[in-house]
Amino acid sequence: MGKGQIVAGCLAPHPPHLVYAENPPQNEPVAEGGWEQLRWGYERLRASLSEHDYDAIVLLSPHWQTYVGTHFLGLPNFEGLSVDPIFPNLFRYHYDMNVDVELAQAIHDEAAKAGLPVKMMENPDFRVDYGTITTGHLFNPDWDKPLVVISSNRSTAYYSVEVMQEIMIELGKVTRKAIEASGKRVVVLASNSLSHRHFTTESEVPEDMSKEHITSHAMHLWDMRMIEYMRTGQAQRILDEMPEFTEQAIAESDGGGLSWLLSTLDVPDYPGILHGYGTIIGTGNAVVEWPCYAHEVNEG
């Protein structure tokens, strides 16, 4: 078995609005479009990766929130209906997804060796969180690649962004190690928004784009600052400024996804490709790809 490889790393958002706006057959509500900039961003991301074959997607969503350790989906298939408890009017999605349990177990074991509290989730009644389903759908609408789904440990809430980041950097390192040992070609995906201040009202027609904008100038400035670091290969600065960004922009990076992603990618010093940016009920969202395939030598 050759050495496994991370094909690409992606930051991609999961507000259910994006799936709602697209009207896939799996989702019950019907929309008249909306949030096209971000949906086209996802489209460009898919096109960009279409030339690169890979075996699995490793995804961390902040809506599987665990307070006790980090958990991994541990059964080969999950099927069901995902209803967003916050926007049930927009997202009621019938999912059927496959899990790469072998890879999940490998990352789990590697994390346990490093001293992180981890657990495999093996209850067949478990409902997969809507963040995972949304990103899973938008990234790979055919659902033809197995996923590894990692829960979001709430260490930011328990301790601080700094402690969260220490844990996530460790989790990133073991994720990379396990992927390399697996011999598989993998895309890693952090599913989160950037600035995360929501509107507290919804317009009559949720997809009315005349109502969509960032909640404040400060949120915009923070988003642009982070995106600039992404576009110019300064991942270390993102990690350095993560505490201020997360606190001041109330960013969804509090769930650890972005820190974990950058650590898994070994803190890339090459530019990420910005495929799209847009706001969703006031929150800032970017679709960014780090093209590891162009920068990392496959020794396999």
Binding site: G69, P85, A157
Partner: protein
Amino acid sequence: MTSGEVVASFVVPVHPHTVLAPDQNPGWRRLRDAFNDAAQTIRDLDADLLIIYSTTWPSIIGHQIQADPNPEWVMVDHDFHDLGSIPYSFNIDADFAHAWNEANEQRGLQSRCVNYKGFPIDVGSVVALTLLNPDNSIPAVIVSSNMYANRSETTVLAKSCLDVIKTQGRRAVAITAMSLSNRMFTDFIKPEEDKIHSLKDDEWNRKILEFLEQGRLEDVGQLSRTIHRQIRVQKVVAFKPMWWLSAMNGNRNDLTGRILAYEAIHGAGGAVVHIDPTSTGIGDKEYDEDDVEFFHGERGVLEGSDEAEIDQSREAERTDETSVSESGPALWDPTEAEGSVNTDAAPKPVGAYPHARKVGDMLFLSGVGPRQPGTNAIPGGPIHDENGEPLDYDIKAQTHAVVNNVRRIVEEAGATMDQVVDVTTFLVDMKRDFAGYNEVWAETLGTVGPTRTTLAIDALPTPIAVEMKVIVHMGE
């Protein structure tokens, strides 16, 4: 109007251990026994409604109220999935849910009902309903905990709930599904190793319970922010449930409290507390926080940008600075005849007549006042109390409310406000009110341009200051 009341309140823990693993730890068993005890108390009280405010159901867009009459699914906890699954099939009072939703809107809150197959009912609500209402004999209602709501908003949420309890004459039980200290062990533990996470958490929990046992619920409400800072992990929802529960009990400190159990669940403080509204007679303490009747949008999240999204009727409700209140003669269901137009969105008539009647392409409205559909409350306040003593009232808020009621009826008929051709307005105090009324007119119907006649009259059937008689031409 019948008199309803909150016959008991309970604080209950949220984690699934009490349902799925009570025998793995003696403390979990004591919590489970306390749940059973509480369930018996609820049955003995002949309660006919359980209202759950759950911290494990956060919301962003206002307040969400479960309105699926029979939600069914299998709940698996995000953390404690290895304890097993909890299948549920609950009996939800959808009528109450809709009435509460309307009452919320009338008090200025953003609110909506949710009724979707497969909606994931949160762990706190599932545990509470499973154990407090095991045979589903008592209908329930569940409300979310808005992550941006402050104390005044949460208080208003309770008051609108009380509005409906009173209107419907219910014997309600108010339940907060919540932890006290919510810090869990961040590592996996054996059941027998469970204890409160830290001495500090334990001390604060005991202090809270001491207050509750003394019936000092309002004091706990006023300490909520401090408690939150001291012993609460900053999860999505702050220590808000005590604000809601205190308001549900009239912000009192002389209630009768009983601690049924206090134990650790994976480090967090779990307690089952029964609060009886009976006064201990020990004497109420001073209430020094703002007692808010109407939500004016002080979340301040959007600094004006949300205003653009708010329709004019809501705007009018927000201009109502004075309290809403209720009074008036008996209400009738609107009559039905050929061409009549009636809507639940307009206040009920005070006699046997329809809201409006269509003849050809003409629409004639019965006299429309400012009373609010559902609660019968008068924005801007009534003009006199039950004894006929004059009260200060806001004519502008009343006029806005009249125009909004007119709009609802006109739109129900399939017409639009710009088709209004003639209006006759009746004012009970021309001298006092003409200017304010005229100002609101200019901003609303004045922009449409119907002919208008304004008359001073002696009185109107309800304690209102303004009424309009409206004719609409629906042609073109």
